[in-house]
């Protein structure tokens, strides 16, 4: 746990008109860390996530990636810093093949030659096991496959910060396990932030969990500690879960 801090988000506030979605959240992430953000709907985790990825500019507060502020930066410039994002609803190029989707991501790394781009595409395809539907158009795939393809798209650029919004959403239990092992493997090269609803998935992968509630951070710590925390269970899991032994 002594790796350097690579993501510093301090006092992040995000207001949409009169609604304060994130109300002063701070978070520090170390290199190679795997962090899960949990919380009920509307807790602000997705908004916070979008601030980290540069999709939203926070109303107040500062976000430093490897020491540099991303305030005022365009989305593509944040991405070029080495940030890979999987959106909640998979955003793929639906009319293009799976291979072309991954190629476009691998090709975005500027110093790569054509051959290196192709080699990286093959590697990612192998790693995620996309070989079977490489020539299919992304729009024709089932949801679970799209989730995996989007993970491949994110990986092909070799980002050092990987932000995954609900990677296990809509997956079958087999696919969830597969996704979990892929996400765990990611930490060898990257700091990973996962927003997730699926508690089994969170238990499966998480080292550290941050629980959001009403725009603030309610609890932070090891997965077991946070998931058994009384107030987290109150706001997130509700009474039914608490009633269980």
């Amino acid at each position: 746990m002594n790796a350097e801090v690579v993501v510093r988000a301090s006092g992040v506030v995000m207001k949409f008109g009169g609604v304060t979605a994130v109300d002063g959240a701070s978070m520090y992430l170390r290199r190679g860390e795997l962090r899960c953000l949990i919380g009920p709907n509307g807790a602000g985790k997705s908004t916070f996530f979008k601030c980290l990825s540069g999709q939203l500019a926070p109303t107040e507060g500062e976000i430093l990636l490897q020491g540099g502020s991303i305030a005022g930066m365009n989305l593509h410039n944040v991405a070029r810093l080495g940030v890979g994002v999987k959106t909640q609803v998979p955003s793929l190029m639906n009319g293009l093949t799976v291979r072309e989707n991954i190629w476009l991501s691998a090709n975005a790394v500027r110093q790569r030659s054509r051959a290196e781009v192709d080699a990286r595409v093959d590697q990612v395809v192998e790693q995620i096991g996309l070989g079977a539907f490489l020539k299919r158009t992304a729009g024709a795939l089932a949801h679970g496959q799209r989730q995996l393809v989007e993970l491949g798209v994110v990986l092909a650029r070799d980002p050092w910060l990987v932000l995954l919004d609900e990677p296990a959403g809509g997956l079958t239990s087999d696919e969830v396990h597969r996704m979990a092992s892929l996400v765990r493997a990611l930490t060898a090269q990257a700091t990973v932030v996962v927003v997730e609803h699926d508690m089994n998935f969170v238990r499966d992968i998480a080292e550290t969990v941050t629980a959001f509630h009403r725009g603030r951070i309610l609890a932070e710590g090891s997965a077991d500690a946070v998931l058994s925390n009384e107030s987290v269970r109150d706001v997130y899991l509700g009474r039914a879960a608490r009633a269980k032994p």
Partner: protein
Amino acid sequence: MQRTNTPRAVARWWHGFVATAAMMALAPLLFAEYTLTLLAIYALLALSLAFVWGLGGILCFGQAAFYGLGAYTYAVVSINMGGSTLAVIMGVLVAAVAALALGAMMFYGRIGDVYLGVITLVFTLLLFKYASSTAGSEYVIGQARLGGFNGIPGFPPMNVPGRPDVVVYGLGLYAVVAVAVLACWALLRWVGSTSFGRVLIGVRESELRSELCGYDVRLVKTVAFGLGGAVAGLAGVLFACWAEIVTPEVFSLGVSAEIIIWVLVGGLGGLWGPMLGAVLLGALKGWLGMQQWMDSGLVMGALLVAVVLFLPQGVMPALARLASAGRKEGGHER
């Protein structure tokens, strides 16, 4: 439009290219070159929008603006220079710069698709209005009077570069236009297969994902828009050489609408289909214009509705599907 780089696709494209070139070479044996030249210019104009809209996903309602700018620039520069060489270059350049500037304003300003359509449409109507109101003798660029609604007649025709006395007309002009069409087609097809072209197609498919990959969507779209403007400008230059007069009509709503109809009928997404659409619809309009019993606008509108309803992807993709279905039934696939 995506598997354009496989050896099979490349070979198929070359076959199509050679066949088209042969057809264009033989066409003057059957049809008047005067008509053929105009149809080829239409094809070039359709090609410019096919690239911008089909590959780049940018629906430009004002492609006529760049076409008209090319034509007007040719007329003005050729009058002042007394020859066509610089006028051709300037015509293309002015159209390209105008497209780049307008594109940069729209894409860097993050204008949404609907507003983009409105702005491009207004841009061409603005030019139409302006060109129409330049009748006074004070509207002069060098020695060229803009002439208001009557336009600019009597400018020097196209000549062999460096030889102002050797005029290119008739079959010669047709040959120049045909070569320009083929060259631009090959160029845009090649652009579509480069990294830039693939990124452009990616931007068409998902701007968000392209940005998350680190591509500057604004720059990519601006460059594509500028390139489309340049090709439309070249079409305008050639039109000026063919018509030997330019009037504000080149900026009109009718021209802009026609280009969109050509592309839609021919098949959005490809380059060859829209060119064919332009030639066929252009020929149909010419033929309808010769008779009195039916309004050509009515027929064009009905045709567009019919294509959108029954062949929503356009004529060429429908034919291609039919052909591949036939092959499968015949058991020849693979």
